[in-house]
């Protein structure tokens, strides 16, 4: 008996309900059991569907649960979809989420109040519910429900320490910036309904693939709107500003939501709509350019940051840029491959950062760390594995996915070579700043306070266990997508994901594969770039203690300050949007509200008072007068009735 798909989102929803409603009273151990139990159960349930699916014929399964909205000619069922794309997402979303739930037991243990602990796990479960809805949805509205749900959970969890001003502000910022993207998504959805008369994936994509000429004019606008949504959720320039601030949330949240799963929703959505995007080549180019620029932009900022989690956040943005680059050049499967590997190694990195943070008593400044290698071996080795993975060193996972992206952009027509070059440079940058972290954190001498030095210790088993699992995955996860040079069938993920790239009438699907020699060359170049970035960082920060980069920064003070200030994008937004908006609001308040609206209100109140001053003499206070008046009215009514009949 196969489990219906709708059960998957429902399991964590039940967990959320229990912990959210009763968690405060049940105590920590019960909350843990419910929260992690729900995550574990949903993982088991998901794999009980995934294993038959992957070993079977991979054909798309659509399971309608109940009728949801039926208005006019709009009819949407609550139906769920299992196809290779959602299967891939499902596989790592549930698994990583489960690991992070486990990790959170240890991490959140110091959370003193039961209420806070229960709230945390309730939100995590709610997030899992929303993410599964997003992934398994068969229609745009249902996906939007999940989309908004993950946004809400992100807001709730970023603002988890709501009693701290910056956390609350970060939560608000995340929400507001996401709303801008959501606005685009909504518009895109309206456009799709107006164009195709339906919001179900299967219908929309079928129509688009069969009659491309009929729909393509409108598709540019639709895809642009959809991509705007993806930019918001996946933190692409210029809507990236919320993600670094979102690190105010607890680290498991950063790992789960802001690195491994939620932020990839944009990539997932673009891949899901690949039929539409491929019919709008201008937008594809736009996607590629934005992705590539974001990758470089965020990578540059990451070099100059000192906050461990902030650097990881910018690196996430940068990696998301890579994914969009892949989508933009038409290599959707490669993009998804990177989504998956990234989930493993970025999850591992964040959890490692959490472990360090745990040891450092919540201090995140990498300048205060150093030499942690000896005291936290497990954290060190797993962190190192993930770093090598993100840097693109073979045979770690990131190498294969990133290399595939670079290869795809290299062979793309038009701006392809430029995109490849920028991507390559960013890869080097990534290796540099990632190894900068490793060098400063784990090598050299400890630079923190005495108390911190005394306190540093390896994390508990509940935290190291997920680290080890994810560290291993950082090593092996890439092996399912070996490049073609390793053999005809070395790449298993590409054929698996192939069905989601449905053929479009009139477009030739296949393109020439790169010659093997070129491919080897490209690989060698990217490994060389990554290795040199790595070496440079090791030399500068581990060996020389950071004197060279400090000199470099001193010689370009303006440029360095600009980068360290994240290109002052927040300040720009402040001047461009926030202040005019605040001014507008203040004007509306002072002029429109106080003078006009209140004026009207006060005037009418005054009028009422004036009239009341005379009419109040009707209130004699004598019940009998009232009764008599009432009775006279009754007589009048009776006379009217008698007269009428």
């Amino acid at each position: 008996m196969t489990l219906p798909l709708w059960v998957l989102p429902v399991i964590p929803l039940v967990g959320f309900a229990i912990n959210g409603l009763l968690g405060t009273r049940l105590g920590k151990s019960f909350v843990t059991a419910v929260g992690c139990g729900a995550a574990g159960l949903v993982t088991l349930a998901a794999y009980s569907r995934l294993i038959p699916f992957t070993s079977g014929d991979h054909s798309t399964v659509i399971e309608p649960a109940v009728s949801w909205i039926a208005v006019g000619n709009l009819s949407i069922d609550l139906s769920f979809r299992l196809d290779p794309l959602s299967a891939l997402m499902l596989s790592f979303v549930t698994f990583v989420a489960f690991l992070i739930h486990i990790y959170a037991i240890g991490y959140m243990h110091h959370e003193s109040t039961d209420a806070g602990y229960a709230r945390f796990f309730a939100y995590l479960n709610l997030f899992l519910f929303a993410m599964l809805t997003l992934v398994l949805a068969e229609s745009f509205p249902l996906m939007f429900v999940g989309w908004e749900g993950v946004g809400l959970c992100s807001y709730l969890l970023v603002g988890y320490y709501f009693d701290r001003e910056y956390a609350a502000a970060a939560g608000r910022k995340a929400f507001v910036v996401n709303r801008i993207g959501d606005y685009g998504f909504l518009l895109g959805m309206f456009g799709i309904f107006a164009t195709f008369g339906s919001l179900n994936y299967s219908e929309v994509f079928k129509k688009a693939a069969q009659q491309p000429a009929q729909f393509s004019p409108a598709l540019a606008a639709i895809c642009l709107c959809l991509f705007m949504g993806a930019m918001g959720k996946s933190a692409q320039v210029p809507l990236h500003v919320w993600l670094p601030d979102a690190m105010a949330g607890p680290t498991p949240v950063s790992a789960l939501i802001h690195a491994a799963t939620m932020v990839t929703a944009g990539v997932y959505m673009v891949t899901r709509c690949n039929v539409l995007f491929r019919l709008a080549p201008e937008v594809m180019l736009f996607v590629a350019v934005i992705g590539c620029f974001t990758a470089l932009f965020a990578g540059t900022i990451a070099v100059a940051q000192n906050d461990l989690k902030k650097i990881l956040a910018y690196s996430t943005i940068s990696q998301l840029g890579y994914m969009f680059l892949a989508c933009g050049v038409g290599a959707f499967t490669v993009g998804m491959f990177h989504v998956m590997t990234h989930a493993c190694f970025k999850g591992c990195l964040f959890l490692g950062a959490g472990s360090v943070m745990h040891a450092m008593s919540d201090d995140l400044d990498i300048r205060h760390m150093g030499g942690l290698k000896a005291k936290m071996p497990i954290t060190y080795w797993t962190f190192l594995a993930a770093t090598l993975a993100i840097s693109g060193i073979p045979p770690f996972a990131g190498f294969f996915s990133k290399d595939a992206i670079l290869a795809s952009s290299f062979e793309a027509p038009g701006l392809g070579r430029l995109l490849w070059f920028v991507g390559l440079f960013t890869a080097g940058l990534t290796a540099f700043y990632m190894f900068r972290i490793v060098s400063l954190t784990f090598f050299g001498q400890f630079r923190g306070t005495k108390e911190q030095a005394h306190h540093v210790h390896e994390a508990p088993a509940s935290m190291t266990m997920p680290l080890v699992v994810l560290g291993l995955l950082s090593l092996v996860a890439g092996w399912m997508g070996l490049p073609a040079v390793f053999g005809e069938h070395a790449n298993v993920i590409e054929p698996f994901l192939a069905p989601i790239i449905s053929p479009i009438a009139g477009h030739d699907a296949a393109h020439e594969a790169l010659p093997h020699a070129t491919e080897w060359l490209l690989m060698a170049v990217s490994v060389a770039v990554a290795a040199s970035g790595l070496y440079l960082a090791y030399q500068w920060y581990a060996k020389q203690g950071g004197r060279a980069p400090a000199r470099l920064a001193a010689s370009f003070p303006g440029a360095f300050a600009l980068v360290a200030d994240k290109f002052r994008i927040d300040e720009l937004y402040d001047v461009l949007f926030v202040r005019p908006y605040a001014w507008l609001a203040r004007t509306l308040w002072k002029v429109v509200d106080v003078l006009v609206i209140d004026g009207i209100l006060n005037a009418s109140a005054f009028l009422v008072e004036l009239v009341g001053d005379f009419l109040r003499f009707l209130q004699t206070g004598n019940v009998r007068n009232y009764a008599l008046t009432f009775f006279l009215g009754l007589i009048a009514l009776l006379l009217f009735v008698v007269g009428a009949s």
Partner: protein, 103 residues
């Protein structure tokens, strides 16, 4: 012998009782007597309902009267409680002397 009362008889009696009740409600000053008059008016209405029920051969009239009696019980309980509270407050139940809500 039973069932031989014409509707108009019942209605006339009901009308007479209602008029007496309303006269009492309007012209008396003792809150208790006003209240009694209101009860009388309700019963006059009950009589009309029962009369119509008998004339039309339906039980609905009796059902409504059943509810009226139940509601009258509730009303009497609350009304008398108000009088007790009122009396405790101002030592009188002469409605002419109770005008707390006068402008």
């Amino acid at each position: 012998m039973i069932g031989s009362i014409p509707l108009s008889d019942a209605l006339l009696v009901s009308g007479a009782l209602f008029s007496i009740g309303i006269a009492g409600a309007l012209l008396r000053r003792n809150a208790i007597q006003i209240f009694l008059s209101i009860e009388l008016m309700m019963n006059a209405a009950n009589l009309a309902l029962i009369g119509y029920g008998a004339a039309l051969g339906t039980r609905e009239g009796q059902i409504i009267v059943f509810f009226v009696i139940a509601i009258a019980a509730a009303e009497a309980a609350v009304g008398l409680a108000i009088f007790v509270a009122l009396f405790r407050h101002s030592e009188t139940i002469d409605v002419n002397k109770i005008n707390l809500l006068k402008w």
